[in-house]
């Protein structure tokens, strides 16, 4: 029976086919292990979770955290001598998201991920929670997805799927309005579709935001795009 750990829509695990809420105490450890695709040494995990504690205290905290996870009936963490890892065969939704994003970035996307609706809801780690320790993990995830979306947008522009290309770039922009590469991807998509006016508007919007938030002019590359003949791949709109 599959075991799965879900961190992108609420937080729960499915253990032996039964839905189990994740105990508050072990959540940080589970997130830490879920975001890595390799085992982690106990000492590294303890240091990551309690960076300002002496190692011996951190190790003690970790032991107690593992014990409580077990007590809560959440035996998702295996420990092999000095290593910690998620139980073999655990399906983790956030790891799946990371893999999909990496496939896109490496230029080997899965077919379904070429469709903008696959990225319509850019999921958030443990949505609805407001914990400081989560923010670096969320930032890391957003960065990865943003980079995947920019790559996706360029890819879609090259294959003449402009509607999807525009949306992928807009999704990246929504994750970070100051992401200049995402803004460039958007302008390029509009230009490739033949929509000079949309490209100019997109550039002007970004210029306004960059001036307001950063006090700087956008990169010359962006503005130069508007005055050069756009690449027009010969393809039909899909």
């Amino acid at each position: 029976m599959t075991t799965s750990l879900r961190l992108l829509d609420g937080s729960h695990a499915v253990l032996n086919g039964r839905r189990t809420e994740l105990p508050e105490t072990g959540l940080r450890l589970l997130v830490l292990l879920a975001l890595r695709d390799r085992p982690m040494t106990r000492s590294a995990a303890a240091a990551a979770l309690w960076p300002d504690r002496p190692p011996i205290r951190a190790a003690g905290n970790l032991r107690s955290m593992l014990w409580r996870l077990d007590c809560a009936g959440c035996d998702l963490v295996e420990s092999a001598s000095t290593l910690l890892l998620l139980r073999a065969g655990t399906v983790v939704d956030v790891r799946d998201l990371v893999d999909r994003a990496r496939h896109l970035i490496r230029g080997r996307p899965m077919l379904v991920d070429l469709h903008p609706s696959a990225w319509r809801r850019v999921p958030e780690l443990l949505p609805g929670r407001d914990d400081e320790w989560l923010e670096p993990h969320r930032d890391h995830l957003r960065l990865l997805v943003r980079s995947a979306l920019r790559t996706l947008s360029r890819h879609l522009t090259q294959s003449g799927r402009y509607a999807a290309a525009v949306e992928a770039a807009l999704a990246a922009v929504a994750l970070d309005p100051l992401d200049e590469s995402a803004r460039i991807a958007l302008v390029v998509a509009h230009l490739a579709e033949g929509n000079l006016i949309e490209a100019r508007r997109a550039a002007a919007t970004y210029r306004g935001i960059a001036l307001r938030e950063l006090g700087v002019e956008p990169n010359q590359q962006l503005m130069a795009l508007l005055h050069t003949a756009p690449p027009r791949p010969r393809a039909t709109q899909a």
Partner: protein, 243 residues
Amino acid sequence: MRTDVVAALTPAVRRDELALHLIGGPYVVEAGCRRELPENSRRVLALVALRPEWLSRVTAAGRLWPGGDEHRAAGNLRSALWRMRGAGIDIIESDRSALRLRPDALVDLRLAEDWALRMIDGCPTSTDLATIGWQAHAFDLLPSWYDDWVVLERERLRQRMLHGLEAMSRLLVREARPAQAVKAAGLAVSTDPLRESAQRVLIEAHLASGQLTTARRCLHRYRAVLEAELGAAPSAELAALVG
């Protein structure tokens, strides 16, 4: 009402359900009756509705009442939710730490964007190609709101709808229904006369109905508008369409 997104895109059996209108809104329609929202809960509802999943109370309060006083923001949020419930509008689910839109509520924005996506994907349902009219209103997402999170969402919907209308026009040409194709393209053009991809489908739709002269006139008019507004010319591909 033909122009209502929810009415146009929802099967008759679901029309009595709770619907949130963000287009021209926000307002709620329950069992056919329009319910106005208390002033201070409108922004809360819109913010929650634009997010696909749970939104933490802290994030929501910080977004809606920025400026630092967290206690005050949290209090404002509680009061806004309380007033909405007091008005009998039960559309937000909440627990101690987070909020979300009730998953069974219809949202006009989602219906409209799904319609457009079916057009872009080239797989409309039997009724999708029949209705034209509500699309003209779909561009008014939360009109006169200028928060960053609204502006981005409005632009995303605008692009989706324009691409949807352009795709619709192409599908209708393929189905040998050029008159309807002209109508769909015309709507895209009237929304944004400077957008070349919209002009292109309009010209193609006129050509499909054998109206070469009208197609040429469209190109001339577009050339004049583009020259006046942007000092630019239509692409060579567009000009080549009408010879």
